[in-house]
Subunit: 344 residues, 2 copies
DNA sequence: CTGAAAGCGCTTACAG
DNA sequence: CTGAAAGCGCTTACAG
């Protein structure tokens, strides 16, 4: 169909020069049409557009990026094992939200997975050499060195969740974990519960630490004190929620409520409670966290704390775009909300 | 720490020119060190390497790509709604396999999601303008126009699964679906079953069509003929497997075996059979397809057809690399294998 | 509104 | 082994 393109020989793609020749204008004029058509006569614009169609011209982004210093794309970077995220319904919502927010800027999102140190090296090098304009960094664990490496390389970065330790100055967007936890525990107290256990997230994640802190604050405030045997840790997976709950029941069979630091773990908790013959919420009230798809799918449906994922993703993109433009934006903390369903 | 970098003013990154100056060599020599160090004296190489460290130099990939015509990255492109894939354990395995196979070439994988026509346009434009060297295209549905658009734009593409219709000439890698189906149905026959139903995949997907075809072939070969009321369609989701199975049971309560065209749907089928009070495999034998994590997680564990995902991903990457090098590679069909567990 | 020209940061024959 | 030079395909002041 095309003239003598042997297999193995890539057809030379038309350049701006070919378009200019066909249109009978200079390359500068073609470029002006390509970049918004300002300062171009209608006649010239028409000629160029039809020449573009005739030649099948597509801009060479490497050349453009070399000059503008922009790639026109943004990375959504996961620095943890992929399975964990794909299992988590929050992740889906966040990914979709960011994709949509970027689409409004006509910017494609590139999802990058860097679960192993080896992959992290590769990705940091790739990103650091300019192939994206910025990074939306998703990592449940706080101390990841990737964020700092990227920042040091001069890449605009916005983190999802509150970074801990030295990297506190990173731009980030997060829900108010501690306040959400307080709200839930107050709700459990308000329904008359007094022996309230907690299944926490990992203690090296901000959500793990903050939600536990909120729980302790409210119990102290209610004069109930802190009982270590009412605390068990999960890793945000469904199974870990079941395991931790079984543990708590063994230690404190008189448990009358459970605050579980994620909906997915709460699903596991419900399974463990059913296995142990406890009725929810009659015997044990259960409160989750996230208001993810898992909360609605659970039986009974979960009373939970809503994280505003749509706003989180929108704010992440807004902050990142601002950083890319060179503004020195910092952090956004968003409020949570109690969602009452059947479990508490 | 660095000299007068006001916020909003990006620090000028060191170029090859800076490195050359510090090292006291020409830019050509720096470039040679960067590209493998051939034809460079040890002394010059040392000087360059230490100058790179001193300046914090990182190659500008746009400039490099402009010359080499290569971006050094590959896209893993999904042209369907993301949830569907993330729910599917096969997807995880395929993604990991491709990531690893590319890592051996030191090439980062860029995951791109293009579920909506709008996103597809954006991604096709982005990819077509040269930002990746090739595309691994994942789509359960056959007729996606994305593949042809990419090929027309001159982008090397390898498809997972057998493309249907006009795009048959696309390079692709697939398991032998039809033969796998034949193997499973023969196995069910060998265990004495005679009223064998099937839950198919969507009939606009190659797996949906081919696995049904294999089922029909073996039944014909066994002289059992084809009973339309033994056939129900699912969409590869767990729920659809449950629904289709309930339907079949209503139509043919005397069913004694079920071939379900994916493990995930087979999990749904098991749930529906349990609900209907049927014992598996005593009353109804169940055969799945994929040998995914779902097969081992199911109760009873699933007898299934193993798709060699590790080989599929390895072959996809191999074909794509060959295409990128300009070779005119075509298709690879890989054999499947019966895996016996408890359900049949 | 338009063209000629400089230049983005690299790689790669080409001479030596 | 090394340097000077051309050139990849674009954008963008600069004159007109």
């Amino acid at each position: 169909m095309s003239m003598s393109t042997k297999p193995g020989e890539r057809r030379r793609r038309p350049t701006i020069h070919d378009v200019a020749r066909v249109a009978g204008v200079s390359r500068g004029t073609v470029s002006r049409v390509l970049n918004g058509g300002h300062y171009v006569s209608p006649a010239a614009a028409d000629a160029v557009n039809s020449a573009i169609r005739k030649t099948g011209y597509v801009v060479n982004r490497h050349a453009r990026s070399l000059i503008t210093g922009r790639s026109g794309s943004v990375a959504f970077l996961l620095t943890e094992p992929q399975d964990k995220f794909f299992e988590d319904p929050n992740f889906n919502v966040l990914l979709r939200g960011c994709t949509e927010a970027l689409a409004a800027h006509d910017i494609p999102l590139l999802l990058m997975l860097a679960g192993t140190p080896d992959e992290q090296r590769r990705i940091v090098r790739y990103v650091g050499s300019g192939h994206v304009d910025g990074v939306l960094l998703i990592s449940s664990h706080a101390g990841s060195p990737v964020a700092e490496q990227l920042v040091r390389a001069g890449v605009p970065v916005v983190v999802c969740g509150t970074p801990q330790g030295t990297s506190e100055r990173l731009a980030h967007v997060a829900a108010d974990d501690r306040d959400g936890a307080r709200t839930m525990v107050r709700h459990l107290l308000a329904t008359g519960r007094r022996r309230i256990g907690i299944v926490t997230g990992p203690q090296d994640t901000p959500g793990g630490v903050e939600r536990l802190a909120g729980y302790r604050e409210v119990l102290a405030e209610a004069g109930l004190g802190y009982a270590p045997e009412l605390v068990a840790a999960g890793d945000y997976s469904r199974d870990s929620g079941a395991r931790a709950t079984a543990e708590l029941l063994a230690r404190r069979p008189d448990l009358d409520a459970l605050f579980v630091a994620s909906d997915l773990m709460a699903q596991g908790a419900l399974a463990a409670l059913a296995e142990a013959g406890r009725r929810v919420p009659d015997d044990v009230a259960v409160g989750g966290f996230d208001d993810s798809a898992a909360a609605v799918a659970a039986r009974p449906t979960l009373t939970t704390i809503r994280q505003p994922w749509d706003r989180i993703s929108a704010e992440m993109v807004r902050l990142l775009m601002a950083r890319i433009e060179g503004q020195d934006t910092s952090a956004v903390i968003l409020p949570t909300e109690l969602v009452r369903r059947d479990s508490a």
